[in-house]
Symmetry: C2
Subunit: 404 residues, 2 copies
């Protein structure tokens, strides 16, 4: 029934948001053919998926509450899953929350889009890190946000620079609608924000009355050191919303995450989550599995991903140690951030990297206002430790041979 002219016919009828970015690439797709070493997108380790455990959980769940799994659900999300997530926050962080503090969502990106939609009209200023997660950049741009990227230093987002930006906006009479940041194992850059900075950022946000969106997709996957309290946990004023996800600790294919937020903000986010609750079926399957296996499964994943990180770091270090390239050493998460050595010929690198078979994401994808040409991001999450090592050596060789 389609004609090639349908979109053109309705071009003038598109909403302001839909018209933003028309002609750009379709979101979410992965271009080109599959690389030999999948270091591009942050796909979870397939060997760690609990295949049998989820089949058993499905059978047990359907026997116990199949009728509820197959009909419309609670708009806030299955209470059993919310209880489990609340318990998780207690076990992993000593944070006392309840199911009424949570909204179940279709994965972290969905939750982030609900928060952005609640605050951002086209043209509104938003402060984010530079670099930051490319998926959220896409969502912010689709909503027409005016992006103010604040450069990271070795410890993450500097509160003084955030204050400066807020002061400049205030001088223009323009309120900042949102401050978006990743305090743990920053994607892509790696740093974990120190406690003092967390407190300072809260104070700045309170002073300028800016809602904070704390993206914590990887918080459970800490390879070493002690967990720091989240901004949500430190917040005494109800200004922080925190997003989490099962994508990294169970499987991205279940499309389940949560928003943890001041209770009176949850209905505002929820009101743009149309339909009969988020996945009553899948929510119950994963709850039945994780009730019995959460701690042991996460402990296993920490071992798995630490080994992969170490293997990739070893492969990079073995080849690039005598260059001035900089390689992040994140305390958790999925990613390594690499500043290319001075004098790297990027055209030559593109050719040699393709020959090496190792994928990566160019640094430019992560910057809200341009820049990042000298960086690449590598994901160690998907490939085995052996292949992380081998592929990292191959890519590092390509980099080495590209130095002028």
């Amino acid at each position: 029934m389609a004609t090639p002219t349908t979109a053109a016919r309705f071009e003038d009828l598109l909403s302001v948001r839909a018209a933003i970015g028309r002609g750009g690439p379709a979101p979410g797709g992965q271009a080109g053919r599959k690389p030999g070493y999948e270091f591009g997108s942050g796909r979870p380790d397939p060997a760690s998926f609990p295949y049998d455990g989820l089949v058993v959980a499905t059978a047990r769940m359907m026997a116990a509450e199949g009728a509820d799994a197959l009909t419309y659900g609670d708009p806030q999300g299955y209470v059993g899953l919310r209880e489990l997530i609340a318990r998780k926050h207690g076990r992993f962080e000593g944070l006392a929350i309840g199911p009424e503090d949570l909204l179940i969502i279709n994965g972290s990106s969905h939750g982030i889009s609900l928060v952005i939609g609640a605050f951002v009209d086209p043209g509104d200023p938003v402060i984010c890190e530079a670099p930051t997660f490319s998926g959220t950049l896409n969502t912010l741009r689709r909503h027409g946000a005016e992006l103010h990227g604040v450069p990271l230093d070795a410890e993450g987002l500097p509160p003084a620079a955030v204050r400066e930006r807020l002061e400049a906006l205030r001088a223009q009479g323009r309120p900042c609608k949102l401050l978006y940041l990743m305090p743990n194992f920053h994607n892509p850059a790696g740093p974990t924000l120190p406690l003092a900075r967390r407190r300072e950022l809260l104070a700045v946000a309170r002073e300028y009355n800016v809602p904070i969106l704390e993206d914590d997709a990887y918080g459970e996957l800490r390879f070493e050191g002690e967990a720091l309290p989240s901004l949500y946990a430190l917040d005494e004023d109800g200004i922080v919303t925190r997003s989490g996800t099962l994508s990294k600790i169970l499987g991205a294919g279940v499309r389940l995450g949560w928003l943890l937020a001041p209770r009176d903000l949850l209905p505002i986010f929820q009101s743009f989550n149309f339909g009969g609750g988020v996945s009553p079926f899948t929510s119950r399957v994963v709850t039945y599995y994780l009730r019995d296996h959460l701690e042991e499964h996460v402990a296993r994943l920490v071992e798995v991903y630490r080994a992969k990180r170490d293997a990739m770091l070893a492969g990079l270090d073995e080849v690039l140690a005598d260059t001035d390239g900089e390689i992040s050493r994140p305390a958790g998460g999925f990613f390594i951030w690499l500043r290319l050595p001075s004098g790297t010929d990027r055209a030559k690198l593109a050719r040699l990297a393709a020959e090496s078979g190792a994928g990566s994401v160019p640094g430019t994808s992560f910057f809200p206002n341009g820049g990042g040409e000298g960086y690449i991001r590598l994901a160690f999450s998907y490939e085995s430790p052996e292949r992380c090592h081998e592929g990292a050596r191959a890519l590092a060789g390509a980099i080495y041979r590209s130095i002028d």
Copy 2:
């Protein structure tokens, strides 16, 4: 961490859309205690859910493609499910479409919100039926649409009245952004739009360059008569987007539906569906089940729901036959629409209906611009035929005794 003042603190920071309807009821919830007879919301028949079939399908699917089920998916949706939906359109309607014509979504309401979001900015005119589906009314209102309800007659939406409204808008220089309608087994009113009207509405929409959103949540559940071609099937100009769902033919808890649309519109709708594809896990579970069971399962559901409709109609007719009340007799779907007899004392009816234990939805919920006080909607989908009959008699008795 929440304080009672968070929403108030950020009230001025809310987006235009988030500020719409603040202070209204939270969407999606069901107020009050459960009625004895659940005739209110259109919940699918729980006895017909394929509990064992889905458990078997989960085990088979996980063995065959568990890794793909648990990682990020195709942004357009699992191709196996799109192939199955395309095949369904061939089998049930003789409509030749392919997987590339479909976008998988989190249930029909989600798809409808994507289409509305693509076209409607706050203040934009939208034409819909009066009455129409209350869930879509909520979504339209949340997006700030200016609603133009066109009254239905016994055959559904009258094309001449739509043309009149479009002409009036054109005279004001305001394009209508969307025409939303339900041609089959209209919810709540019941009529199925005749073929001639379908053609006429297409001609009117083409003439005024209005995109049509055809909501076909119940199309497979036809109890009698021949299926008419959908507006999508009749459309030669690429102006129709049609939404469908597995909620009524499998289970609302899987939260899966689809948009069938001109191919170059799909990326526009998809671009506001953030995240890693719609439920790769659940999409595969239901595909593995429905590949082998679709036709037999739908045939069974048609028997099940026809028996319930007939039982409810019998119960109503037995008591109300000698009044001037009007009772719809839909050829499919989940709902009966009842115009109360002249002289019904609505305050008295509210009291007696509560005593009868039978739930219903007041007609006012379905009207975009007021009205509907003399109507109620009854769902026969959830209760058994016996209870449909018994509850309908009880409610009809309450109505009868409320006539002045």
